[in-house]
């Protein structure tokens, strides 16, 4: 397999938010793209800084982003197709108690066993960097150079991740868990321009809406993440010269200590119009009878896309407590209004 078949990047930001990266780049990539790739780490680490800053006492983390990839119809002759594209993140506090971030960006022609890559990053590569820095500092004293150290560790880390690539995905027990849906996001994009963006959820005064706030960072954050990451991944694919494919966000996972949130999306494209429906899911919401497994949500999201029905007819099957009045989330102004009404407990 050629090196250019994969996209592989590892980004690290230390406790002072200084960013270091190691990106595997094909020799054939134009120089201009190589220069633009230097900003990639900032773009992927940016939202992690924001989520750490947001309600820092709670510290929501963006753990995992995955996009499904599709071939652009006019360019279907290409054979080297990326089958999976995902971003795994880890946030660990340094000895001073300040957050450090590491983020792995992986595009691969295989489905990839994401869990093993996640475990390598979170349980080994990231802690080894933090521990290694302290040990090397104590041994080398003033001779220790962090920039040399991190360069070596990121190279080592990226080789370690690359070594696991090429495996097929396995189903883990987490995917069999039951989740409660607290919102459905509808997005319509035509020729790269956002046409519609709405949120189906509870009524503003519904106690379930207030309860949901304990399980999510905010309605505002969840609603901006799919658009942000989708356009970022499209931009990344272009930088790696993969102009023959486009992305659609399929999974976003966030966590906060023992809380988890999964945003899960399905899409279709007809006549250059891409319609996506995504469910915001939380486990252990406290209404077990209305919690379902992921395949239930996947099936219903597909039904919205494929059956010629009013989307709300199916949205209400996903959660009977949702109201038919959807909230527009297209512009920053709309999102601010949503935040004003929905992100306050009172």
């Amino acid at each position: 397999m050629k090196e250019s078949d994969f996209i592989l990047g590892l980004f690290f930001s230390d406790e002072n938010d200084l960013i270091y990266d190691n990106i595997k780049v094909s020799e054939e990539l134009p120089e201009e793209n190589k220069n633009r790739l230097k900003m990639l780490s900032y773009k992927f680490l940016g939202p992690l800084f924001l989520t750490t800053a947001e309600r820092s006492e709670e510290g929501w983390k963006i753990d995992f982003i995955e996009a499904s990839l599709s071939l652009k119809q006019e360019l279907t002759r290409t054979v080297d197709i990326l089958q999976s594209f995902f971003n795994i993140n880890s946030i660990l506090n340094s000895e001073e108690g300040l957050p450090t971030h590491i983020s792995a960006l992986i595009g691969s022609p295989h489905t990839e066993d994401v869990k093993i890559l996640h475990d390598k990053l979170v349980q080994y590569i990231h802690p080894v960097i933090l521990q290694g820095k302290l040990v090397s500092e104590s041994i080398l004293g003033s001779v220790f150079k962090f920039s040399d150290f991190i360069k070596k560790e990121l190279k080592r880390g990226i080789n370690f991740l690359e070594f696991s690539l090429g495996q097929s995905r396995k189903v883990y027990w987490e995917e069999q868990q039951h989740y409660y849906c607290i919102g459905v996001i509808e997005r319509v994009i035509e020729r790269g321009i956002k046409k519609t963006s709405n949120l189906y959820t509870f009524n503003k005064d519904d106690p379930l809406r207030k309860l949901a706030l304990d399980f999510i960072p905010s309605f505002y954050i969840i609603n901006i993440l799919p658009d942000y990451y989708e356009s970022l991944i499209n931009e990344t694919l272009e930088l790696f010269n993969r102009k023959d494919i486009f992305s659609n966000i399929s999974v976003i996972e966030l966590s906060n200590r023992n809380k988890n949130l999964i945003y899960f999306e399905e899409f279709n494209v007809e006549n250059n119009v891409k319609r996506s429906y995504g469910a915001i899911l939380v486990p252990n919401f406290g209404i077990p009878e209305e919690s379902k497994n992921i395949s239930f949500y996947r099936r219903n999201l597909r039904n919205i896309l494929e059956l010629n029905k009013d989307p709300f007819d199916i949205v209400v099957k996903i959660n009977p407590n949702f109201k038919s009045d959807k909230w527009c989330t297209k512009s920053e102004e709309d999102l601010s209004k949503l935040s004003e009404c929905f992100d306050k407990k009172v």
Binding site: M1, K2, E3, E95, K120, Q123, Y124, P127, V128, Q131, G132, L134, V135, S138, I139, R156, N159, F160, E162, F163
Partner: protein, 339 residues
């Protein structure tokens, strides 16, 4: 703290072992308890002598929260882990030692480390744990197991760090530093048995390639095969494969822990590499003077290498690390230039 159930991962039959220990205890009731445990372990093929095992038990008995027999059981469990790890290593293909270390530490030793630390007292030093890993995982046929020497060596290498009074967790670095030499030398062993195996097969198959002359100590069959495949289908060779081929070529000659003078191998390296590559070229790419041309190209690469690396005598592993980038670049350029 995460609770690790190691019995699910690496089960040892504690009941059977305990019964065996009881038998030894009854047989040698005149011996002091620590001597009995040492004898019990030695009978389980652990340690090259009872006295050395005794010294180790004597040192660690004050470092653990549990009884010395529990410690002995963990020593036996370590042998089981080593067995599993070796079985895995035999099939593994790594481009460099660092990857071998990271992969094996991650797969086999992190969970064991978390578990083992639960039997130690809080004031145990990191170098005492790392020395123990060397004791537990080094193959006994090459181990002298002298506890004093071991501790002295690890004391200078592995610090125990504190922030104010709180101990800083550096367990992964301890694990990595403790096991790096063991994994390196085990992987070297695997590579050399693979070479021996390949050589045996070659002899059995009565292949008559010039490059496989027994006088030549460098073995570049992997590079030869890569060139041959490349000549046939012109499909790009993966950088990781080239890395692997170059490392395997160099490792076939250079041994870890042995020192080499540059002048003693320069000619051999040049001739072997040229012959293996030449032998891999198909008729379409081979010319009457290909071998001489290759030797000339490699001489240039090695001359350039000498202008940067002026040290004359180095350890085998160091020569492999130093030579790899130059030979890899040469190999990539050579294959790209094949028309």
């Amino acid at each position: 703290m995460e609770i690790i159930n190691l019995d699910e991962l690496y089960d040892i039959d504690k009941d059977r072992l305990f019964k065996y220990y009881e038998r030894i205890k009854n047989q040698f009731s005149n011996l002091e308890p620590l001597k009995i445990v040492a004898k019990f372990l030695n009978n389980q093929s652990i340690g090259d002598s009872i006295d050395k095992v005794y010294d180790i038990l004597d040192f660690y008995k004050d470092k653990i929260k549990k009884c010395i027999l529990d410690f002995a059981f963990e020593w036996i469990r370590a042998q089981k882990i080593r067995l599993e790890y070796k079985k895995y290593l035999i099939r593994a293909q790594y481009s460099d030692y660092e990857l071998a270390i990271d992969d094996c530490v991650f797969l086999f030793f992190i969970k064991y480390d978390k578990y083992l630390r639960t039997i130690f007292k809080d004031d145990v030093k990191e170098f005492e744990i790392s020395a123990l890993y060397e004791i537990f995982f080094i193959p006994f046929q090459i181990s002298s197991l002298n506890i004093k020497n071991l501790l002295e060596r690890h004391r200078n290498k592995i610090p125990t760090l504190f922030k104010e009074l709180k101990r800083i967790n550096t367990s992964l670095i301890t694990l990595r530093l403790a096991l790096e030499q063991i994994i390196k030398s085990d992987y070297d062993g695997v590579l050399s048995s693979r070479r021996e195996e390949a050589q045996k097969k070659d002899i059995m198959g009565k292949k008559t390639l010039v490059a496989q002359d027994m006088q030549i100590e460098f073995n570049g069959t992997l590079l030869e095969r890569m060139i041959k495949t490349y000549c046939f289908n012109k499909r790009d060779i993966k950088i990781a494969d080239i890395d692997n081929g170059i490392v395997s070529f160099l490792n076939s000659y250079f041994k870890f822990g042995k020192f080499y003078d540059y002048d003693e191998f320069e000619e051999k390296l040049k001739n072997s590499l040229a012959e293996y590559i030449n032998s891999g070229l198909t008729e379409r790419y081979k010319k009457p003077d290909s071998l001489e041309f290759l030797k000339k190209l490699i001489t240039e690469v090695l001359n350039q290498f000498r202008t940067i690396h002026t040290i004359k005598k180095l350890d085998g592993a160091a020569w492999v690390n130093d030579l790899k980038p130059s030979l890899k670049n040469f190999f990539i350029k050579f294959t790209n230039d094949l028309t």
